[in-house]
Symmetry: C2
Subunit: 159 residues, 2 copies
DNA sequence: ATGGTCTCCGATCAAAACAGTCGTATAAAA
DNA sequence: TTTTATACGACTGTTTTGATCGGAGACCAT
């Protein structure tokens, strides 16, 4: 349950790879292309291309056309949240159909629905979790976000 | 993204309904059948039946056959976690394919995978969230679990 | 005791979402 | 101008999901 799509998997892998080449040991920023990533992680080139195009449209990465072209991060890894990446590739977070619908929608159960409120609470918690973890946190041996830090974040404490 | 299946939605609604009739205002425990729930929330009878059967197998509810039959909760609402309900209906929680696989599995990216560890961390956090919220929390006006309480829970504090 | 009714139960079918593929167009560097 | 890269759209096969059907078993009234 709650499985991420392949697009999301591939997207995150690619971002981690791009970030490593741009901010990693090698001081020089290096443009990396689709084919290189696809071969490194054994994923279909065309599908990865589509994923990268989507990320590019969202401003998460920027594309450079032509020979020696490829992709670079569009922002600092600290500013790229997992939530933004996933929403870009899979659409807005919504654990149920009526998460983002307006009043008078097509949900037959709406008026008698007894689980909407608590589920929205869960959804909000998951979103906070994903929104407080960045690409930076996924790189290197950097310690990941903990539940505690999510809690403090909710209280308005800066990271 | 991360949308729950209809089965999960229906299951949670039904459980809330059963619990309300068993532990609600009416002191007398009342057996409620599939048809009644289906009509109340406008969901297909047969599909709901299947969902309830699954929940019954998991011991979350218990079935009573024959006329005047139906379902009752198998445990106290405090002991029925959302995680257990969802896993019963949708299979084990796994935000990626390789969440529960053994070594030497079919994941082509496994050896070069750079996102497995952080994603497992996220998965673990989500699981804690779902495992610390019970059917009791979903009933009535009872305050729901908060992020803070999840954090304290992780530190071993009793609810 | 037995028939009838009501329920749970297992197998089956159709629709939708997803992963992956193909071909072509466009843009930049050599 | 040729090469090499991304950008874009349409298409196909597969998996998952949602929904449906017919049957088997249990209870209650007669």
């Amino acid at each position: 349950m709650l499985k991420l799509s392949k697009k999301a998997d591939y997207g995150l892998m690619a971002l981690q790879h791009i970030a490593s080449n741009q901010y990693g040991d090698v001081a020089q920023a290096r443009v990396v292309n689709t084919k290189e990533i696809a071969e490194e992680y054994h994923i279909p080139v065309e599908l990865l291309a589509k994923v990268l195009q989507t990320l590019s449209k969202s401003g998460i990465i920027e594309s450079h056309n032509g020979p020696k072209g490829g992709y670079l991060l569009g922002k600092n890894p600290r500013e790229i949240t997992i939530a933004h990446v996933l929403e870009s590739l899979e659409g807005p977070l919504g654990i149920m159909d009526c998460s983002h619908e307006k009043d008078g929608d097509a949900c037959m159960q709406r008026e008698h629905c007894n689980i909407r409120t608590p589920l929205l609470k869960i959804q909000s918690s998951i979103y906070q979790l994903l929104n407080n973890m960045t690409l930076q946190d996924m790189m290197g041996g950097t310690p990941l976000i903990t539940i505690q830090s999510v809690a403090t974040e909710q209280q308005g404490v800066e990271r």
